[in-house]
């Protein structure tokens, strides 16, 4: 029944230096339906796949507004994600109450990661089973972070989490170098195309995905269904069109940024390994 004798307790180490319960929590992120985030210098787009539990039910909300300048997309246990986004909202409100200035995204992400870390070191707790893509805009520009149940967090240019996210990651890896200068429209289009990659054959409809955007002079908001459908129509009718555009990407500067930020300590050296696979 159990994988081994070291995985019944969160705080028990395996002789190989692993915490299995934490790894299982990161597995939960992989089981959840996909969430995608990407950014330019001025905008961040979050997108996700709407998966209903059954034919009869509605799907669960997977993208949340934290504040006008911060949004979050989740994959994994949505219930945990809701709790964490409520925490992020209150952090943001408390910050603007005390300092009358918007909360820097990097700071919020550290608080969030510390909260997740505590759960990996207490016998009476369990790690959060959710991965969060935190997108935000602050004085230093647009940012996209990935927070995982282990308490690790990384900054990205573009990233995808959840089931079949590898396909979306491949798509984003092929294109991310041009994202820095992308217009918001191109960013939205790339987000939706990345979502399509995770569907594997299923035809993309606006009802199947949620897209949200924030950026300079654009507070966080969801795109309405018609706007998403309009973007889908531009490439669903002429499928060969996007292939030509794929080669357009250039610019070395963003390549460095795309690698996980230094703070991720543990993974220094193998930057190509996604945090979930470590």
């Amino acid at each position: 029944m159990f994988r081994n004798q070291y995985d019944t307790d969160v705080t028990t180490w395996s002789p190989t230096g692993r915490l299995f319960q934490v790894e299982y929590a990161m597995e939960a992120v992989k089981q959840g339906s996909a969430a995608i985030g990407l950014r330019s210098r001025s905008h961040v787009v979050l997108a996700c796949v709407n998966k209903a539990q059954s034919e009869l039910s509605s799907h669960q909300r997977k993208i949340f507004k934290v504040d006008d300048h911060i949004g979050v997309a989740i994959a994994g246990l949505t219930a945990d994600g809701r709790v964490l986004s409520r925490y992020m909202r209150s952090e943001s409100i408390n910050h603007s109450f005390t300092y009358e200035s918007p909360l820097p995204v990097g700071r919020l992400v550290v608080h969030l990661a510390d909260k997740a870390q505590v759960c990996t070191q207490r016998s009476w707790k369990r790690p959060y089973g959710v991965g969060l893509l935190v997108g935000g805009l602050d004085e230093s520009g647009a940012h996209l972070y990935y927070n995982c149940p282990s308490g690790n967090y990384f900054e990205y240019q573009a990233f995808a989490i959840g089931s079949r996210s590898q396909a979306a990651k491949t798509y984003l890896e092929r294109r991310f170098e041009s994202f820095g200068d992308s217009s918001r429209e191109d960013l939205i289009k790339d987000a939706i195309l990345a979502v399509r990659e995770t569907l594997q054959g299923e035809t993309l409809k606006s009802s199947l995905c949620t897209v949200a955007i924030l950026g300079v002079d654009e507070p966080f908001h969801f795109l309405d269904q018609e706007a998403i459908q309009k973007v889908i129509d531009t490439f669903e009718k002429v499928p060969e069109e996007e292939e030509g555009e794929g080669e357009a990407g250039e610019g070395e500067a963003e390549a460095a940024e795309a690698a996980p930020a230094e703070r991720g300590g543990g993974v220094a050296g193998d930057q190509d390994v996604a945090p979930m696979e470590m």
Binding site: K65, R89, S90, I93, F97
Partner: protein
């Protein structure tokens, strides 16, 4: 050792007057922009009116620091409300929240005298007046602050609200048109400025209607 600060108070009175009038489909909220302490004027251009929601505007006089703190609390609470309900707070809901917020500090009150104006769920104008600890009432018109003792009897004379004890409940909204209400507000402030040293400099008038908010400014005596 003798007591050194027996007369120290945590409060100051920065003066100012607030007036609001509710009409059938509009609400006029007005306040002067003078901030004073004692015989000194601290600012001739400090707004006492704060937009809390699309359909709720708060005008407060009293102690500026407490007013500012109160406005910040309400702003944060309104943000939380929007996250939880996906809509703006209505004016009657904001009125109850303001009352609770004031009563929460029943034994160390906010030194703030408030008039809350806005539109209710039916789109009718509404005005709520408060005391410092949160007791409040929905009225057709109201005045608070240093000039209220001069303004309130004049408004009573001009507008005559129905007794709140009448059954069934009478509609307290004024029969004035929007232009008449704005004119009346300008008149009462011009008069109050003559006799109240804490009222003057400029009058800020906000007119709330279903299609949005208009702001008007009028000069008052500067002496």
């Amino acid at each position: 050792m003798t007591k050194q600060h027996a007369n120290w108070s945590p409060y100051d009175n920065n003066g100012g007057t607030c007036v609001a009038i509710a009409g059938s489909d509009y609400c006029v909220i007005a306040a002067d922009t003078r901030m004073s302490t004692g015989y000194s004027i601290l600012s001739r251009d400090y707004s006492k009116i704060h937009k809390l929601a699309d359909r709720a505007v708060l005008s407060s006089s009293g102690f500026q620091a407490d007013v500012k703190a109160l406005q910040k609390v309400l702003k944060s609470r309104h943000l939380i409300y929007q996250h939880q309900h996906n809509k703006q707070m209505s004016c009657p809901a904001m009125a109850q929240l303001l009352s609770n917020t004031l009563y929460f500090k029943r034994f160390f009150p906010y030194y703030a005298f408030n008039v809350l104006g806005g539109l209710d769920e039916e789109g009718k104008g509404c005005v709520f007046t408060y005391d410092a600890v949160g007791s409040y009432e929905r009225v057709g018109y109201g005045a608070q602050g240093s000039g209220s003792t001069l303004i309130m009897p004049f408004l009573d004379n001009q507008l005559k609200s129905p007794s709140p004890l009448l059954l069934p409940k009478q509609d307290s909204n004024t029969p004035l048109s929007e232009a008449e209400a704005v004119d009346l507000v300008k008149t009462v402030f011009a008069s109050a400025t003559e006799r109240d040293i804490y009222t003057g400099d400029k009058l800020e008038i906000m007119i709330l209607k279903a299609d949005g908010i208009k702001t008007e400014l009028m000069d008052l005596r500067k002496d």
